[in-house]
Every structure is written in C-alpha cells, then in structure tokens.
Subunit: 387 residues, 2 copies
Amino acid sequence: MAITGDQRLLKRINRMALVRLVRSQPGLSRAELSTATGLTKSTVSLLVQELIDDGWLCEDTVLVTGAIGRRPTPLRLDGRRLVMIGAELSVGSVCVVSMSLNGEVLEREECTFPLQTSAEVVLAQMAGLIATQVGRQSDARRELLGIGVGVPGAVMETSGVLAVAPNLGWRDVPVRAMLLAALTRLGVVDLPLFVQNDGDVAALGEVEFASGPVGDPLLYICLGVGVGSGVVVGGRLLLGGRGFAGEVGHMQMQADGPRCSCGRSGCAEVFIGLQAMANTLGCSIAELETRVAAGDAAALSVLTAGGRHLGVLMHNLWAMLDPAVIVLGGPACRLGKPLLGIAQETFEALARAANLETPPVTESRFGDLSVAAGAAALVLHKLLQPI
Amino acid sequence: MAITGDQRLLKRINRMALVRLVRSQPGLSRAELSTATGLTKSTVSLLVQELIDDGWLCEDTVLVTGAIGRRPTPLRLDGRRLVMIGAELSVGSVCVVSMSLNGEVLEREECTFPLQTSAEVVLAQMAGLIATQVGRQSDARRELLGIGVGVPGAVMETSGVLAVAPNLGWRDVPVRAMLLAALTRLGVVDLPLFVQNDGDVAALGEVEFASGPVGDPLLYICLGVGVGSGVVVGGRLLLGGRGFAGEVGHMQMQADGPRCSCGRSGCAEVFIGLQAMANTLGCSIAELETRVAAGDAAALSVLTAGGRHLGVLMHNLWAMLDPAVIVLGGPACRLGKPLLGIAQETFEALARAANLETPPVTESRFGDLSVAAGAAALVLHKLLQPI
C-alpha cells in the first residue's frame, strides 16, 4: 500500500523512528537525532517534547563539566510510566507479567491448569490474572499500552485465532476474541490485544527490550517439551505464509528415527525435546533434571545425544538463515552445559570443518519468563512498527 | 531511517507502488488505483500519465460494448520500451540476457571459460557480452534501466564484493568494481549495476516477472552442481547477517555421511548435487543425463536416493519457513521425474504423516535462464523497492 500524504501518519512514523533510535543508541541528543533522521531540528524538538510528555522518552542528567555553553541533553527511554502486559499460555500453566519500556519485570503472576481444561476456562483464568495486573498498574499511576499473548502453536495474526497447538490438543481456538470477551466481563476494555506464537514473541523480547543494537537477523530457539523458533529480520517477524514458520522441532534429523508425537519420525523434537529426553530414561522431566544435577551417567548420555542433535539443528538453521546472533531460551536451558555445551561444540566443529566462524550464541536474558516478557514486547513491536 | 517530508521521495514511492499494483493486478483502472492506494484521483492520473510517458505502463484497448458513458481504461505493464540486462556467472560459463518489464527474454548470449581463468578475464568477457546487448537495445530504441549480475556465492550487497564462491575457487573478488571498470573501458557508463547471489536473484525472477499475485514467502531452490536457495518475503530477499543465507546445500542430512567439497560430511549437496550424483556413478554429468534418459537402473537408483533427500530438504525448509510456494530451478531439473517426482512424493508423505498439506511446488518458468533472468529482475527489484 502506498503512503498517502497524511500528515498524522508521517508524524506517527517519525515519532516511532525517534523512539527506536534512542532505544538502540541511548544518550543521543536532539541534534544527533536530527542528523540521523534528516528531520529539521525544530521538528525533532517538537516531537521529542511530545514523547517526553507521553512517557516514552526522558532526559538524562547533564554532567556539569565547567565547559562553556549548553551541553546537548542525552535522551533515553523512560522506564517509569508506560507499561505492557505480557501473558504466556503454556502446556499446563499461565504466566502474566507487567513490563516497563526498558524490559524490567514489574510484576509477575502464575497459575496452573489440568491439561484437559477447556480453552474457555483457561482463557478466563488468564483474563483474571491480566485484570489484576491492570488494576495494579493503574494504582501505581502507570499507563498501559496494551496486552500481548504468546501461545504454543500457529496463530493467524490478523484474527488472533490459534490454528493448532498440538501439545495442548487445541485447534481453531479464537484466543483473541475469547480473551477480549473475558476481559470485558472483568471491566477491562479499550486496550490493544495481540496474540502470537510463543517462539515468535520470545524472539521479539530479545529485540524490543534490548538497550543497544541487536544482531539482525536474530534467531531464537525455544527449548522445552516442544522445540520452536522465532526469527526477527529487518525489525520484522518471519511468520511464513500461514503463520506456521519456525516449526524447527519437526525438521527431520534422521531417516526412520524414533516416532514423534506429530506423526512423523526422526523429528528434531524426538532427540532434543524435554519430554522426549525424559521418556528415553523412563522418568519425568523433574527427575531428568535431578539426575543430571547428580551427575547420573545414563541421564548425561541422553543429554549428550540431545546436545549433538541440537548442535546440528543450530548449524542447519544458520546455513539457511545466516543469523547474526542465536539466542537459546526455554526450560531446557536449565539443563545447562551437559546439553548446551555439547550443542555448541558440535556446531563449532561443523563450522570449523568448512573454515567458517559461528555467530554469537547467547541465552535469553529473561530465563523462564522469555515468552511472557516476549508477549509484552509484542505490544511494543506493534506500536513501534514503522508502518 | 525516518521518512523526511521530501516530496520527491513520496512521489517516487507512490509511482513505484502504482507499478507494483498494476503488475500484480493487470487491468486496474485509474479509479481502482485511487481506491487501492488512498491517493486522490487527480494524483493518480498525474502519476499514471508520467508512468506511461516513461515507458512503465500502457493502456489496454477498451472494448466498445455499446454501453453509454466512458469505460475506465485498463492499465498494464508496458513491455515495449524499458529493458534490463541480466548476467549469470556460473561455473565455467557466462550468460547474458535482455529482458522486458513483462519477463520476456529479448536477447540471450553465452560464452564459456576454462575453470582456471582469472576473475579479471572472466568479468571482462562478461562485460563484452553486456556491452553488445547494450548496443542492440539502444539500436532497438529501448531504454536500459540497469544491469544485474547473479554469482555462485555469497555477496556483500552494498559493496558488490563476492566474498566466497567455492565452486569457482574465488574469494573476496570485487565483482561490481571490476565489471564497472571493464564496462567503462567499453564505453558503457552511467548505468546502475547490482550484484547478488544466484539463488537469490533466481527467486527474484519468479516474483518480479510474475503477472499476477505471487505466493509470499516464495522459496526458490536451485538444483545444480551446487544446491542453493533464495527466499522472498514481504517483497524482500532474506539475505542473512552477512549475505550468506540460503546455503541449504550444506545443511547436514546424515551424521557421518559422505564427505562434501566444503569440508563437512553428509551435506545435502553430497546427495542432491549434480556432480555428486554423477560421481557416485563414476561418470560425467552429461553421461548421467544420458543414462537416466535411457532408463539405466544404476543411474535411476542414484536419482531415487537423491530425490528422497531432496524431499526431506524441501520438507525441512517448509517446516522452518512456511513458504506459500516452492519453486525448483537449475540444470538438475532436466533430470525430471526420476529426481523431482520422488522428491515430491517424499515431501508429501512426510506432511501427510503429520496431517498437513504441502504448499504448491512448481518449476521455474525460465528454465536454464533462471539466474540470468533473475539477475535482470534484481534491477527491477531495486528500482521498485518501496524505500
């Protein structure tokens, strides 16, 4: 769609561009913003003042150095007033957080549900947790920008319908509409509400809450019962034609390998998934963690095999996507070196064989809150999107 | 970077948006363009007249139906005046084409070179072929929009440096600068010149020369001595952090598989690459094709194995990227059903096991000219890019 001459649209685009610039280069002055954007100094001054009044930006203290003349005032994101709520729907639990613009977790709340619970009941519980946080943020005189939700499955972005979530056994659930209805019943109205896949929002969390430049593309790999991913390239999510992109847990890694819950055989998830690894040992996920911590040889050998497969998966995604950074997240990261160390070694050995260097691989800064924080980042992502 | 109020920039954006709209929906009228863009009718009329004068658009004949009143005039791309030159550098040969806006191949010319030839000499030969075509297009009173080049390796897009082309044995060759110098010596100056990876430009050829809507994302898989790919998503190429994206021929398909020329083992290329398949039979690529055509059992069995691996590769890329369409191209397509049929069956069987449907898989409309035509499409892509 072409840009119309609409001045309001241009103004919004310029405002959001200024916010993104200050976020990636904290400390920029108005003059530097003018140079970077090509906007006149008076336009920048006007927009920056609005952004300060609206709670997006604030001025850093200027150090008095004794030098003559007025120093340019450094700007940065204002973490005090604007907040986003992020909610994670996972297999058996719901987690809701309130996040500042800077990616600070202001509040968190969780509840669990038995796996056979209906979508209606689960989403009503989620709405309850969200409503509580809405109230608290209001009491704290913070302003809510919107609500984001991360779900373990493919989402039709415009409708907010969860097409399929195999590990929940859900299909064609209108998550957005049901949540909006539940929130309305609780008196929470007129807030933007966005729904997206969990791996995708977790990837956004790494980008939208970064204070400084971020590798582009950024590949996030989510390691849990399921293995998923999210890619942010040029500031946008790679969603695929139907919103099904990132199903890396079902890339085939071994012809005629063990059967996967999806119906195929030899999927990555069969080797790397938390539940699959526990199943190989005939124990629960909690027991797997305990045994690994205790140095149990059988458990460590399962993790070694899983780590090798994860290393090959990381390599293959890197060959396809050439990410500038890979971020690992999800509960399986708790298994630490016996899984992630072997994966890194495998990845590096493959790259070295081809005389290539691997990109930086890091762990998510949000730990277990990657998806919930990422869901809050989805709100920011939508609001800061250029067009 | 934020958009400045610059009216020229807005005008360029609007002009190119109109061209893209008419291309994807041939027959649109000025009134329909106004509705689709939000631009006023007078602005659309003004811009359309300019685009007609400049050779981008033309008016279709209006059928006289006897109805009262003036009929809206359908618009379409003008294939008569503007041309782009596309050049393919491949392993041992150079191919140069002139293309109309509609994707019609107006001229083609080829030459071969021994593999040990220096980059300087090869690019001088390419410049010679290009200069000949520049002259012919000028004689035919066509206007040249620019030159695109597709190369078998990773390209730094802004500098036009070919970082590494393993099958040519080239490293850090400033293709763009060397070609510009050679063209200047031949009196060809002041033309935009773009250089990009062969799989990437071939993908662009499918998008920029389509007359009608195109699946988004579009995944192009290039099957030859090397196996590469290109992805166009939201109208843009997925290039990766260093321009190395799409190296799908080096995704690992089998632990401890046969050794690949890249130094790794079990890469996709070892199973699917033309040279690798010929090597397995101990024959040349030409002999492989002859033996397949003659129904030779050993040759067909190598193709069956290759086809199965190709099917798994297509499946894995689909799981990761969720393309709306997959296009297969490159010389290995000449092997036909014994390779591509098995691949399709394998892909479909994997999807069916998970109760999923595969996306449409087609063959490139440009056949052996996929990369050369795609290189011409790169020029169009650059010129039509919104910002």
